[in-house]
């Protein structure tokens, strides 16, 4: 009975993880090749994201220490393009998989960062400065520069759009 109650209290995200692990268990029985390939890929991702995870933890700790709701209100709620500039810059210089940043953004949201700025940050995470040389090799430098500038402009439009829509209840 106690175990059942504990299970009921578990957040939905644990059921999601449980379901995925169950699929892996089935694959380990019925399709060893896919199972091993998936695990191999999983290992590669985990290996890559451990340093990012540590970085996110450090940034979250620093953010908890220095970025108080008052700080966010002061720097990101001020009028003008300054706040957008900081968010765009933050999105571009941040690294690692997008989902690693959700907890930090949720934390900043609780401190007063609006949805539009969060969307703008996430959009700009698509711009990877270290990968630009590779992109230029595959395409052309003109194409990559134009694409990057258009994406930055569109990220602001998306942010404004999301703020407008989220305001409508």
């Amino acid at each position: 009975m106690k175990f059942k109650n504990k299970l009921k209290k578990l957040p939905g995200s644990w059921y999601f993880l449980g379901a995925i692990i169950f699929i892996y268990l089935l694959l380990s029985i019925f399709s060893k090749e896919i199972y091993l390939n998936s695990l191999n890929f999983f290992g590669q991702i985990i290996y890559k994201i451990i340093p990012i995870f540590i970085m996110v933890f450090v940034l979250m700790s620093l953010s908890n220490y220095f970025i108080t709701p008052e700080f966010v209100i002061k720097h990101l709620k001020e009028k003008g393009i300054k706040k957008w500039f900081y968010v765009i810059l933050g999105g571009i210089i941040s690294s690692g998989p997008i989902y690693m940043w959700y907890p930090l953004l949720a934390d900043l949201k609780n401190k007063g960062l609006n949805y539009g700025l969060i969307a703008c940050f996430l959009y700009n995470r698509a711009i990877k400065i270290p990968l630009l040389p590779l992109a230029i090799i595959y395409f052309s430098w003109q194409y990559i520069i134009i694409l990057t500038l258009v994406m930055v402009a569109i990220s602001i439009i998306q942010g404004i759009l999301i703020n407008k829509i989220m305001e409508v209840k």
Binding site: F16, I21, N37, Y99, I118, R125
Partner: protein, 137 residues
């Protein structure tokens, strides 16, 4: 500072099952979907290909390096730059696979709205980029 670190650890622990589940799901899809699948989807119709490009990019996951390689291969196969651009942009801005994690942590309405607008905007980014490139080049 200790309090700040505890708070950060708690925040990450809350996100842990969703992050781990998402990585496992991405790994599974990468193992199941062959790379050649992406290049067989396009019809060489500019508009339809842009929508297909955005759709495929939206459900794909992985490092942007992979998207550049796919994008380069698509161009070599004769697929238009508009479709390839839509694919590249959607790959990095729309996250269907990450949607459960994003919904749980940042809110369902925001996550759905952000992904829908990112999908539509990926087509707009592609059109604007190719138009500007056409004028400049």
């Amino acid at each position: 500072m200790k309090q700040s670190m505890t708070k950060a650890a708690k925040g990450l622990w809350n996100a842990f099952p969703m992050i781990l589940g998402t990585i496992l799901l991405i790994s599974l899809i990468s193992a199941i979907v062959p790379k050649s699948f992406y290049t067989t989807l396009f019809s060489k119709n500019i508009l339809i290909d842009s929508i297909i490009g955005s759709s495929v990019g939206s459900i794909s996951a992985g490092n942007p390096i992979t998207s550049y390689i796919f994008g380069g291969e698509m161009l070599n196969q004769g697929i238009g730059l508009l479709a390839v651009t839509a694919f590249l942009v959607a790959w990095v801005t729309v996250g269907i696979i990450q949607l459960p994690a994003e919904s749980t942590i940042l809110g369902k309405k925001f996550a759905i709205l952000r992904n829908i607008t990112a999908f539509i905007l990926s087509i707009i980014v592609a059109i604007v980029t190719v138009l500007i490139l056409g004028v400049i080049a």
